[in-house]
């Protein structure tokens, strides 16, 4: 899948709770180029709602959101 080829940053957000996951993602997204991907792992179930909402408001793209056991893995692409 193309997402694996372009991932530039991986964030470990395990153990962090609201609002820290979106703070970390918003800071990380500024460090990458438009079009680049950020992959993150989190344990806070709040990310299920927070990350799509953050993408919508900040103008970035949610590429994937999946759950592996107790960990949520999501990929976002910088669009702005």
């Amino acid at each position: 899948m193309t997402e694996e080829l372009k991932t530039v940053t991986t964030l470990d957000l395990k153990g962090l709770v609201c609002p820290i996951p979106i703070v970390k993602v918003s800071q990380a997204i500024k460090q990458v180029q438009v079009g680049d991907l950020i992959e993150a792992f989190a344990t806070d179930p709040g990310v299920l709602g927070d990350i799509p909402a953050w993408c919508k408001t900040s103008g970035n793209e949610l590429v994937k959101m999946e759950r592996v056991d107790k960990v949520f893995r999501f990929v976002v692409r910088r669009r702005v």
């Binding site: 709770v17 609002p19 820290i20 979106i22 918003s26 408001t57």
Partner: protein, 158 residues
């Protein structure tokens, strides 16, 4: 009048639970790219005080003693039990890895949230500029706050 998709929060409460909510919302808004302003009035000023003793006249100084300011000393709005509840909530937050209050405040400032003290509250409670922490904006009044609110997409009263 230029409008943005920002968030204005009017923080009137000085209790731990309400301030956590206020800062969480402000931090979330700032992380989402919204221009975020917090207007601290009345009890809310406790959140941006250094913790020094305030007041000039008798009542001012009495108030300063009974109503100590500082982000780390505010108690919950219920079950405070003279500080025991506050300690308990802090332990619970620590066990669940919730960001402690002083760090929430710092994070808000780092993310560009603007903190405005209410001029009138400062005068009535005899709190001086030097009693406030660094990094807060110039104090202002209700008109300035309403103008911020006008430009924002959402205004919340806590």
């Amino acid at each position: 009048m230029e409008s943005n998709n920002g968030t204005t929060l009017i923080v009137m409460s000085g209790e731990m639970d309400k301030l956590i909510a206020a800062f969480n919302i402000a931090i979330g808004a700032a992380a989402m790219g919204k221009e975020t302003n917090m207007f601290f009035t009345f009890w809310g000023i406790k959140a941006i005080q250094k913790g020094t003793l305030t007041g000039k006249g008798l009542f001012g100084r009495m108030m300063g003693l009974l109503n100590r300011g500082g982000i780390n000393v505010v108690g919950p709005s219920r079950f405070n039990f003279w500080g025991l509840g506050r300690w308990m909530f802090k332990q619970m937050m620590k066990n669940h890895h919730i960001t402690p209050m002083p760090e929430l405040l710092k994070m808000a400032k780092d993310l560009g949230v603007k903190l405005y003290p209410c001029q009138m509250s400062m005068e009535v409670m005899e709190i001086k500029r030097e009693d406030l922490i660094d990094g807060v904006q110039e104090s202002c009044g209700v008109a300035a706050m309403l103008e911020m609110s006008d430009r924002s997409k959402q205004t919340l009263f806590i």
